[in-house]
Symmetry: C2
Subunit: 332 residues, 2 copies
């Protein structure tokens, strides 16, 4: 397994101010002479969790590609409220945009000597980064794969995100981000609010939440997967990372908010893979986007009941479908 | 306008214990000699809010029908945590089921001398009550109309409800239900968590939340419609009413949890009207239910982007569609 490395950017301007010593955490896999694949993290993702698609015999093959995984700011590995020294620690951490993240990732790739990126691949917030890359560095990226993501965070998606955010911010132990110990009550509420959004209604109807007997009931599922799932995260990190997501919009980078025009300007080849049952990155948004990607992108809907989670390594059938489509796309 | 009346049940057993002096608030409209329509409230509904369908020239015509609107326990008008004396006040209020509500409503109708119910009509939690009526009183109800409801609260619906509940319970001012003043922070979080569920994604994509210029942005919409919308509610009322919803399942009344068998036993004629874009009472659940209603019920999907709200008087087009279908159904 690759060791996590840390790139120090020095003084680094971000959308909400500046980080005096911004750090991007990343890992590299395979031979640097191979074509480079960039695979940034999603919400709730760490560099470790990228392994579901990276390996000798996985779709992002470390035998065929030089794979670079990069941690988003606020994920707890790159610069985040939880690991940044005063005066930008905790609730004082500045807002960070996707554009800031991509600029930072580009700096890492420059240091690694990557001359051109064969493909950017991402799921969810990673899928949003996959859209940003060819917009910001049009001559550097050949392909991108956006899985359960979008080029702009839709109003409904923004509204959904207000839910977990509101629960955490209003919680009895969050204390405006000035908590002395982790606000466990707030984070548990955050997880519960999030849970029903992550899968399709049919998945629950088919009792997917019981995970073939792992859980006796909905409550156990919520306690372990959704309360437990966020306990390892810092509350301020969760909020600033959520802010990055909520403000996603490639057309802020150029074209003054005209998303259609911005998308029409993308030169890289795209593979856009929404999940049919995704409740916050619904396929309709992808259809709209692909209609503006002219002939550069292909839409392939993941036919699944797993909702958003389909794209994140949640089950073997969807994993295989996604891997096969990506492999085909890489060979085109 | 009809005056609100209060029926005292005396000592009234409920699923979580007993209410020493249970009260059902209700109103009557029109001539008692006309066919009787029962129209119970939904979540967040008061007797006042039933007026959107009740009136001389509305679908529940007070010229043609004797309309009785009834308030759910926990809605703040019927017995609720907020209006029940000690020792069952506030957080000490017992759990109440749909079955308890229907038994109470039946007692009111008996007092009013209603010999048979021409139709029960309901939206959302009202739609769930519409299913309960013919199950509990099979020889008393001729027709029922379930708008954006279901005969059993699905696991996904239960999971969605955990969100607003968790936000309120975890909030800094809820204090385990022992608050001395209303927990405004908790209720605002509750509303924000709820908001994105109430409409379809497409409604937001079309900027429905801006309400044709009423709101400049998502934040204003959330503040007025969703934070403001719940400030007039008591927090404990919100939670016990939510519990009634969360535990809805007609097959608990009979057939030992076998929903298909319970539905097959319904004799009344049903009109089942889900909204195409409802995120927590999705039409697929209605399709399943109607498949077990043999030839007694008809499914009519409301083709709308308004999500769940389509059934609650949110816009003229859906109102008209629903009214026309109900009128046709009443004449069959």
């Amino acid at each position: 397994m690759s060791e996590t490395q840390y790139h120090h950017h020095g003084r680094f301007p971000v959308s909400g101010g500046v980080l005096p010593d911004a750090i991007t955490a990343y890992r590299t896999y395979g031979d640097p002479k191979n074509p480079c694949i960039v695979f940034p993290t999603c919400y709730g993702g760490r560099l470790d969790s990228q392994d579901y698609m990276v390996g000798e015999d996985k779709v992002l093959s470390t035998k065929k590609y030089y794979v670079v995984t990069l941690a988003l700011f606020s994920n707890g590995e790159s610069s985040s409220p939880s690991n940044t020294p005063a005066p930008y620690n905790g609730p004082y951490f500045p807002a960070v945009s996707y554009e800031d993240n991509i600029r930072a990732q580009y700096a890492v790739l420059q240091k690694l000597g990557v001359k051109t990126v064969f493909a950017v691949v991402g799921f969810s917030m990673g899928g949003q980064q996959a859209y940003y890359w060819p917009v910001i560095y049009p001559d550097y990226v050949e392909r991108y794969v956006a899985i359960c993501g979008s080029a702009r965070t839709s109003p409904h998606n923004q509204c959904f995100l207000e839910g977990p955010k509101a629960a955490l911010v209003a919680s009895k132990d969050f204390d405006g981000g000035h908590y002395k110990t982790q606000p466990e009550i707030g984070k548990r509420a955050f997880g519960r609010v999030y849970s029903a959004w992550a899968y399709g209604q049919t998945w629950f109807r088919q009792h997917g939440h019981l995970h073939d007997g792992k859980y006796p009931d909905l409550e156990s599922f919520l306690r372990e997967d959704w309360e437990g799932g966020f306990l390892g995260w810092d509350a301020n990190d969760l909020l600033t990372l959520l802010h990055t997501w909520q403000t996603g919009d490639v057309s802020r980078v150029r074209d003054g908010g005209d998303l259609a025009q911005c998308l029409r300007g993308i030169k890289a080849k795209g593979l856009i893979m929404p999940s049919k049952t995704d409740l916050y990155f619904p396929p309709e948004d992808s259809v709209d986007e692909v209609s503006n990607l002219q002939n550069t992108a292909r839409l392939v809907v993941i036919d699944t009941v797993w909702g958003h989670m389909a794209g994140g390594g949640a089950n073997a059938a969807d994993d295989k479908f996604i891997a096969d489509e990506i492999t085909k796309f890489f060979e085109e």
